[in-house]
Symmetry: C3
Subunit: 350 residues, 3 copies
């Protein structure tokens, strides 16, 4: 696991300052990097870290070129963070090349399933009737692809992913272990104190370049489909209800819950543990802080928050108790203001 620094620049560009033959054995965080490791400084305002890092080579922005070159080898590039992302991809391809495509003998393939060229199927995977798996897709151990489902080219289902019947996953997707696509949405009609199931007749349609974290669930639509557009990134343990529509390139952190029929715009970010209630619409470019509850539609791009500030427990107890009387406090304040006004009037010089 080692590459000369020059091979990095040959593959990814950037301006090399220093010896091309310097051997890099690992990509490392700036703070702990050693002399045979490559780290990055994203922005010029972190320039002070140039003095303390032990990294053998650095990826830096143009503003730090001079200072970085004085301390040792560096690669200069406009956007070091982006460069670093691409470097991790190149590093992975170099050191962990994809295994040759193979269909495990212990997989269960329906005779009517269609597998394109270069498909890999892991042990104990189950591919249902008429399912279609695109060229180069990799289906992990214990993954289940339901009847009439489609998996796009070069998409990877890790172990234990379920894609329900008729659901569609686009190209170049990554679905992590335990993901459930296309379980029934939560729909019931109340009747005499009981719940009558509404069969969920829609499916889930997922665009290209979508990544979905471990144990995240996306329910199928009631009548129409649940839709996840291109480039969406979902972290682990997220719940997406039926008929939700998530716009392109929106990202959600772990443990988010989106209730049924919510429409979330493109280029949004939703912080970890946030909840979006059902039937709401969020515009493009809405950013919701962690653990906030979206209770109304948001038409304007921006940053929105609603969470109780944490405090030492004793202070919290006092403030929380007062909070339950806050409306009463407001009324008392109004009464005090009126009393003051009256006193002022009575005591003002004639």
């Amino acid at each position: 696991m080692a590459r000369p620094l020059g091979s990095v620049v040959a593959a990814l560009g950037g301006t090399l300052m220093g010896p091309a033959e310097l051997v890099i054995r690992r990509l490392a965080p700036l703070a702990t990097a050693c002399e045979d490791e490559l780290a990055f400084i994203a922005q010029a305002r972190y320039a002070s870290q140039l003095q303390t890092t032990q990294a053998g080579a650095l990826i830096v922005p143009p503003a730090l070129q001079e200072a970085a070159a004085q301390r040792g080898a560096c690669i200069v590039t406009d956007d070091p963070y982006l460069y670093f992302a691409r470097l991790t991809q190149w590093w992975t391809r170099e050191h962990d090349p994809a295994e040759p495509a193979a269909i495990d003998a212990l997989a269960s393939l329906h005779p009517t399933a269609e597998l394109a060229d270069g498909v890999s199927i892991g042990p104990f995977a189950v591919i249902g009737a008429r399912a279609r798996i695109g060229r180069g897709a990799r289906i992990g151990a214990h993954a289940v692809v339901g009847a009439d489902a489609r998996i796009g080219a070069d998409t990877r289902l890790h172990a234990r992913v379920s894609v329900g019947e008729r659901c569609v996953v686009g190209e170049r997707g990554i679905l992590h272990p335990g993901v459930v696509i296309g379980a029934d949405g939560f729909g019931f009609a109340p009747h005499q104190g009981q719940w009558i199931k509404i069969e969920q007749l829609g499916a889930v349609r997922i665009g290209d370049d979508v990544e979905i974290g471990a144990n995240t669930c996306i329910d199928r639509g009631a009548l129409d489909d649940t839709v996840i557009e291109d480039g969406v990134k979902l972290d682990n343990l997220i719940q997406i209800g039926h008929n939700v529509h998530v716009g392109a390139h929106t990202a959600m952190a772990g443990c988010v819950g989106v209730a049924g029929s919510a429409t979330i715009g493109a280029h949004c970010t939703i912080g970890g543990g946030a909840v979006v209630l059902g039937h709401l619409t969020l515009a493009d470019g809405v950013h919701v802080s962690a653990a906030s509850v979206v209770t109304r539609s948001i038409a304007k791009p921006g940053h929105y928050t609603g969470m109780f500030p944490i405090d030492d427990n004793a202070s919290w107890e006092k403030n929380a108790a007062s909070l339950k009387q806050l409306n009463r406090l407001r009324e008392r304040l109004k009464a005090a203001e009126q009393a003051i006004a009256l006193v002022q009037k009575n005591t003002s010089p004639p």
Copy 2:
């Protein structure tokens, strides 16, 4: 996938206004329904949508019979939403009939497991020693039924459901992919800074007609059993702790957490992301809003809420900062009121 409108009424009742031979190709939402699609209007107050929908036929309440019949075919019924729920069930049976029962050759069945007539077992499912699977039950791919567990008649375990040893699932249940029934409850005794495991000796007992969403977990009891009564509906990614008791026909939305030994009444609803702390009791008919934290027992039916209202981030920051001084504000207000009273006394006419 098409049925004449008359066959719907023949199967489900209601009063048909219009041609029985009208062909319906899909059930559709009112807003997007086309001329060969069937939609519903739940209540008379949505009458205005009669004018805009393109649906070929409508299910409407009696109050809309006249107006609906003027625009085209309709089925009149007292509760259109309930009718629609039953319609989805009928539609599913018509178009997606259950496959003939079969035991997949790649399943792992313990020789002492008891399978009733008409049981289906999917590929790579594992049925443990002395487990009993009721008549007509369907066990999905990769499902695991532990030793001495029981699955009721006509219950369906989707792919990758685990039912732990000695746990019981009633009849006509639906467990979605990734459900874990009967993992150990979270119980430890503290000892010299470490946690000593309390083996969880109880099991989980689930009643009839229970539906459990994808990746939801219900822990086994510590000594007694965790109990889910008949007709309970749980959405995805819910955590039910050990020794919890959930009353009949209670419904919980996604991402709810119920801590150990909580007792939740019948006919309750718990909104998405809500948390119920341990050892509490909620009466029948308690409705908890999404993302609210139940920190005390609730003896009275009703609607309960506790969530920080979302706001633009700048406003939230100001209000959250003030919130941390709320109790101090209350004290200041009290002092102001006293000062006002004193001034009033001093300035009142003698």
Copy 3:
């Protein structure tokens, strides 16, 4: 399933008061225990329950020895709760002895995997290249151990656990169904409105005596490893982001989310549904209440809380509306105080 009371004391110690031959058929909660059942009273302040329990025998602290012995058989020990924990372990070993080690014929073992003595592998488990399974470890049905991963001696992976490539689990661990260790952390560089994946090159290192609840996820580090130290206990449906460090003997209840690069000290407890934001540091001995959001580092041990108090919905609506004007209320109060001061000055006796 029955043991004489004397055999309990012979195995676990304590002072027996009463007949050693008394047959115990079950460990039971105090409130519902019957005459052939054994229950415990943790502390002297629960002494009143001595009068009402029907338990055949009790485990009690020294302060209750006399009162307990008067009503019937008892075992006296300094820490009844700890004694009870060990009793559940002994009871389980007695009644549910581990089955003899066996490698299921339907498991998929890579030829280069190394299995120590006494390893059990369940049906349809998958053990990857060069993976090492320690002595006495039990790998459940459908578990997946990735290439180069290591599972410590006597650790148990329940059904459907995934341990990703290169990840390490220590000795005597318990991982419940659906656990995902080593899925990719959530890391992307923004570029022209899209997200460029940062390959996650680290792994997960889990210490000894760690228990991880059903469907909990621990992501692999971006460059360095995500670390869970010895004795940590995680409940169900928890999300641990990449590069998180959890100190020894810390416990987290269900549905907690810990964002990337957070460092949580030793001997902490995190309540159910709490969220810890990324890149924060929590000292040893920090206790976070359920559903609280940790938005800043906490340097001092103690108890911290931040959650909106639940109320009847009508009261909540009023208080929540006032909360959105809280900062304005504070300003109004300040103005009122100033007005009062002025009036006081004007009306004070000369």
